[in-house]
């Protein structure tokens, strides 16, 4: 086995312990990774992959030699995202004995931070990482819902109509922030018809729980509009340990590009709540 930069071989963790950790991480990460359900995903291209080709050059001529023009290529660097957490060695020993209630609270919290960071970067931008978000790039004015959510199907229908009017074909999907998701799932319209079913009929695509997203974002899923490029897919690595705890981390590298800003519309909460 060749070592890689995650250095898992150096951790005082048994194979069974790693299986428990990986399974727990996968279970905690997967439900909330909304961007991966809605946008184009490519990769993983590996930890060594450092930048996304955007096909452009800087305008400045950097040549210092007469008769030579030289322009530097523009690339989008991948961002490395890392969430550290600790696991108690006593808990790992309990897992090795077959315990089914191993305490992975810190891992669960780290997974949630990763989910929220990935979603927030894709939907609301992360300027320092060079990521333009879907909602923040959209030229469409956000649609403001009512406090009660009673007009939610109308908001989503208006968003879809706005996309159609801009020549953006479906199917469409919706990333629902925590509050919007809860309200959509538990709300019945007049006559008892579930709001969720109504929305599904309007968008013809997935409605996705998206922690880290403020409000909601309706977007086209026809492809070619939003590009998530994975370098290293979500992984668990080893940092250090002492007699009591092992310090680990969840890590990934990725870039995200909005290729068609007009292919999404944000739905926002009313002000002064």
């Amino acid at each position: 086995m060749s070592q890689n930069h995650l250095l898992r071989e150096h951790a005082p963790i048994t194979d069974a312990g790693w299986e428990l950790i990986d399974e727990e991480a996968r279970e905690r990460l997967t439900p909330g990774l909304a961007a991966r359900r809605l946008v184009d995903f490519s990769g993983p291209l590996g930890w060594e992959h450092s930048a996304t080709n955007v096909g452009r050059v800087e305008r400045a001529n950097v040549s210092e030699i007469k008769g030579i023009e030289a322009n530097r290529r523009v690339v989008l660097p991948l961002v490395e995202l890392r969430a550290p957490f600790t696991v108690s060695r006593e808990e790992l020993r309990a897992g090795d004995r077959g315990a089914e209630d191993v305490d992975f609270a810190a891992l669960d919290a780290a997974a949630q931070r990763v989910v929220e960071a990935e979603n927030a970067s894709v939907f609301h931008a992360w300027p320092k990482a060079g990521i333009d978000g879907i909602a923040s790039s959209s030229p469409h004015k956000p649609i403001t819902r009512k406090k009660s959510f009673e007009d939610y199907p109308g908001c989503v229908a208006r968003a879809v109509e706005l996309l159609l009017r801009s020549g953006i074909a479906g199917p469409y999907g919706v990333a629902l922030g925590r509050e919007d998701y809860t309200s959509v799932v538990e709300t019945a319209e007049h006559g008892g018809y579930p709001l969720l079913e109504h929305l599904r009929e309007i968008v013809k695509g997935p409605l996705v729980w998206a922690p880290g997203v403020k409000g909601a974002v309706v977007l086209s899923m026809r492809g070619g509009d939003f590009a998530f490029e994975s370098g290293e897919d979500l992984s668990v690595g080893y940092a250090s340990h002492d007699a009591n705890v092992v310090n680990l981390y969840i890590e990934e590298s990725y870039s995200f590009r909005v290729l068609t800003p007009e292919a999404a519309v944000a739905i926002t909460a009313p002000r002064g709540r």
Binding site: M1, S2, N4, L6, R8, E9, H10, A11, I13, T14, D15, W18, E19, D22, A25, R26, L29, T30, L33, R36, R37, L38, V39, D40, F41, S42, G43, P44, G173, V185, L196, R200, G205, P206, L207, V208, W209, M221, S230, E232, D233, L234, S235, V236, G237, Y238
Partner: protein
């Protein structure tokens, strides 16, 4: 309409696996078509018919290549082995054995990895979840 591409009950398979199986079936069909055209081209005497079929088999090459690329993108270990075999001069079998060994060394799926290893070297292999929602 048959659903022969599924070896297990489709209802029990996740969406991603069903998509993967469809593309595997498509890849097989394109390979069969390439084989059929190769035979037809070998015996056809009419030059006009030959030209038509030569053009058609080019389509099948394209379809096969697109199917393969899709499957390789979704299967990192397969991709890694393919990279060690495809478009390289020399002994195909030697390249294949070397590529397989290298992929196994990087954390294989066969269960013989070293302590601390996980499938694909620590990656949780979540990848794309496209289309999955409520």
């Amino acid at each position: 309409m048959g659903f022969d591409q599924y070896h297990e009950p489709p209802d029990e398979l996740p969406e991603q696996t069903r998509t993967f199986a469809r593309l595997c079936s498509s890849l097989t069909e394109e390979a069969e078509a390439i084989g059929w055209y190769e035979q037809r081209l070998a015996i056809e005497k009419d030059p006009e018919a030959l030209a038509v079929m030569a053009d058609a088999v080019g389509e099948e090459y394209k379809h096969f290549s697109m199917d393969l690329e899709f499957l390789l993108r979704r299967t990192p270990k397969w991709r890694q082995i393919a990279e060690g075999v495809l478009f390289k001069p020399g002994d195909i079998v030697e390249h294949g054995e070397a590529a397989e060994a290298a992929a196994d060394d990087d954390g294989d799926e066969d269960g013989d990895a070293a302590p601390g290893a996980a499938p694909s070297g620590g990656s949780l292999r979540i990848g794309s979840l496209r289309g999955e929602g409520l």
